[in-house]
């Protein structure tokens, strides 16, 4: 410390006792006090909801209470009494940051208006009788001795949020915009009259004057969000796909088109290929630049709108927004040897939607909002962890759907795990065959039960000539079928599946709505359903072919044959021993990989051997 300080102490005859460097234990009293203060401040700020910059006021407020409470070494006397030599008076103590109605002087309030202002209590001034308040409307400090306290209301406290609210940053005297305290619950709160103005115990701690210039605390400004950069790959690239004849319709014909375009839209996908990416597209994809026959004919038949929607490289999709679960960045995608497989997966997804008629292209009607959409890329793995197939999916961002407008009911049942186990056990005992059927793009099968508009998915772009005065950005897709991510998607799929299954002779059992049974003479089939995974436990080969052909008439099914994997659980069927073994090696490996334990040593008893288990 400075030499001045030492000289001063020597001159005043004060002996100095230092603590040893890095030995805070020798300073137990003050270290403990500092910790108590810090904890007290955190509590007060949390309770009042004030910003961290108010910590100094909170310290003073907390100390005011501290000196009036006996400490362990002074009990039953309080520090205040030991120091001042008289009993403390606690009548002026109020909660920090509570709502207060402060009486204004006659010259400080307009006539005919109530002579009060709403403030929060922030402390006890040392040099005045009364309290110190802060008026959030004027951002000014008020000292007054006439106030009514609402001690359980903390205007800055955000209900449901714990902790200190960093967003409230009332800097004085900058007059920063500060949220007004919420309107008080009328004037009906229990009136707590201020005590007859007892002099509040003066704090012993005057603030050091002159205080240094306040260091302005930067207002927490939201970082400017970088505007989405235009896709550099998408401009000026010649389309490889042929232009459609309808594309050349004279512009003046367009305004005469019906306001609502016909149901069948021409959605043409142009697959652009950018040589710079070095990714040869599968030739099959390029050749499929036009829609299947029916749609193309409908297009050429009448003077309908013609829209061309080029499909940008799926890699570009990944570049823009699509985040693969496995692939973190575009660089990863491009460096990977399997990049072409992702492209193919995305193209297959688009094809499925176009064939299925999942959407139609419309102008967004006034008053409606379009929900967002995005791509999700995922690797589907086999039970042993090896790659099965690459999947690309267009997902609707269903979280922005509003109940009552976009959906009502969303419940859909799935088979309980206990049900699965039971059926597997029965299958083991009775030596049933287990087969799996997976229904491709299940959610796209059922007409949707609400009017939902979705922004055009990434990679599909509107390329037609808009009518004059129309905003091309208002083109959206109107969902006709369910889509992944839609909230009611599972439900409308389950209803559809129920209809189909009952029509081909299945019955739903009452104890688990996801299990269907089929009984015909000697053929019995039990079928638990997990969304679009159908597990069939059956005793006759003939029946299964019958069922599969029935299903195939309604859905596009993916027959997986004998079950080896259901819901990520590997199934081993030992017919001779009449056993079915379940295991999850792929799942275990993924956990090990996640926690970087993939190279750990196996342990026979994966728990502490010395653990004493007792009731």
């Amino acid at each position: 410390m400075s030499g001045d300080f030492d000289d001063f102490l020597t001159g005043a005859g004060i002996r100095r006792e230092h603590s040893i460097h890095d030995m805070p234990q020798q300073l137990g009293v003050t270290e403990w006090m500092n910790r108590s203060i810090a904890e007290g401040v955190t509590t007060l700020l949390s309770q009042s909801g004030l910003a961290c910059t108010w910590w100094e006021d909170a310290v003073m407020h907390w100390l005011h209470g501290k000196i009036h409470l006996p400490s362990s070494s002074t009990a039953p006397l309080t520090p205040f009494e030991l120091f001042y030599g008289r009993k403390p008076d606690l009548s002026s103590m109020r909660p920090f940051g509570c709502l207060t109605y402060v009486h204004l002087q006659k010259d400080q309030h307009p006539a005919l208006l109530p002579p009060t202002t709403q403030c929060i209590l922030i402390g006890y001034p040392t040099d005045y009788k009364g309290w110190r308040f802060w008026d959030p409307q004027t951002c000014k400090m008020v000292i007054s001795d006439s106030a009514v306290f609402h001690e359980s209301t903390f205007p800055f406290h955000k209900p449901g949020l714990s902790g200190v609210d960093m967003s409230v940053n009332p800097i004085l005297p900058a007059g920063a915009a500060t949220p007004d305290p919420p309107d008080p619950p009328a004037i009906r709160f229990p009136t707590i009259l201020a005590d007859p103005l007892e002099p509040p115990a003066p704090l012993p701690v005057p603030a050091i004057q002159p205080s240094p210039a306040p260091v302005p605390v930067p207002e927490p400004m939201p970082a400017p969000v970088p505007a989405p950069t235009a896709d550099p790959l998408d401009s000026g690239q010649p389309d490889l796909a042929p232009q459609l004849p309808a594309h050349a319709l004279p512009l003046h014909d367009l305004p005469e088109c019906p306001r609502t375009p016909p149901a069948v839209k021409q959605l043409t996908s142009h697959f652009k290929h950018h040589p710079s990416l070095g990714l040869p597209l599968p030739p099959k994809c390029v050749s499929r630049a036009r829609l299947p026959g029916a749609l193309a004919e409908a297009n050429s038949a009448g003077p309908t709108h013609s829209f061309a929607i080029p499909l940008v490289d799926a890699v570009e999709c990944a570049l823009n927004t699509s985040i693969s679960i496995k692939l973190k960045t575009l660089a990863d995608v491009l460096k990977r040897p399997d990049a072409d497989k992702w492209v193919a997966a995305a193209l297959a997804e688009i094809e499925a939607h176009l064939q299925n008629g999942t959407w139609e292209l419309v102008q967004l009607p006034p008053g409606r909002c379009a929900i967002g959409s995005r791509w999700v890329f995922k690797i589907k793995r086999l039970p042993d962890g090896s790659i099965d197939k690459y999947k690309g999916r267009i997902m609707a961002q269903g979280y922005s759907q509003v109940q009552g407008i976009h959906y009502n009911e969303i419940f859909a049942s799935t088979a309980r795990m206990a049900t699965m186990h039971t059926i597997l056990a029965i299958a083991a005992v009775e030596d049933l065959e287990l087969e799996s059927v997976d229904i491709s793009t299940a959610f796209l099968n059922r007409d949707i039960d609400a009017e939902i508009y979705m922004k055009i998915p990434e990679g599909l772009e509107f390329e037609g000539d808009p009518r004059p005065g129309e905003d091309p950005k208002r083109w959206v897709v109107h969902l006709l079928k369910g889509l992944y991510g839609i909230k009611q998607g599972p439900r409308i799929w389950a209803l559809k599946l129920h209809l189909v299954l009952t029509s081909i002779g299945f019955e739903r059992i009452d104890c688990d709505y996801s299990v269907y049974v089929y009984s015909h003479s000697n053929d019995h089939i039990m079928m638990p359903i997990h969304i679009d995974n159908l597990l069939l436990a059956l005793n006759s080969k003939a029946a299964i072919q019958c069922v599969k052909s029935d299903l195939m008439a309604h859905f596009k099914i993916h027959d997986q044959g004998l079950t080896t994997l259901i819901l990520g659980i590997k199934i081993e069927h030992d017919c001779t021993a009449c056993t079915i073994s379940l295991s999850q090696p792929g799942y275990v490996e993924s956990i090990l990989e996640q926690f970087r334990m993939i190279n750990c040593n196996p342990s026979l008893t994966p728990m502490d051997k010395n653990q004493k288990l007792s009731a």
Partner: protein, 121 residues
């Protein structure tokens, strides 16, 4: 095996066969290696008895820096605690060099109030 453990075993008669020249070397004398390795912190003494009157002894410490400056621009506080009453007084400062000024203020205020002189800081 640690020096002291071997010694203990020989004394208790638990082991045998240690050559005399080894046992002879084992004495109760000061073992520097043991001290080097085994010295630990001394236990902290119990707090001394409280001072008899206010300001006989005052504890002080500086806390901070607080990562957020207060509205008044301070980021440290310095605590003065009177040992007799455990009465805490806190001054807010922006720089550690202001501790001196804070102490002068505390001294003036406290001595005026109690009529006692600060003896030990």
């Amino acid at each position: 095996m640690p020096h002291s453990a071997l010694q203990h075993l020989i004394r208790a008669g638990s082991i045998d066969g240690i050559p005399d020249r080894v046992t002879g070397a084992i004495t109760d004398d000061f073992c520097e290696d043991c001290v080097n390795r085994k010295l630990t912190w001394a236990p902290h003494s119990k707090p001394a008895a409280c001072a008899e009157h206010p300001l006989l002894q005052v504890f002080s410490d500086v806390h901070g820096p607080i990562p957020v400056h207060s509205r008044q621009g301070h980021c440290y506080w310095v605590t003065f605690i009177d040992d007799h009453s455990q009465f805490p007084a806190v001054y807010f400062i922006a720089r550690k060099s202001e501790v001196y000024g804070a102490f002068r203020k505390y001294k003036a205020w406290a001595e005026n109030l109690t009529g006692q002189q600060i003896s030990i800081l």
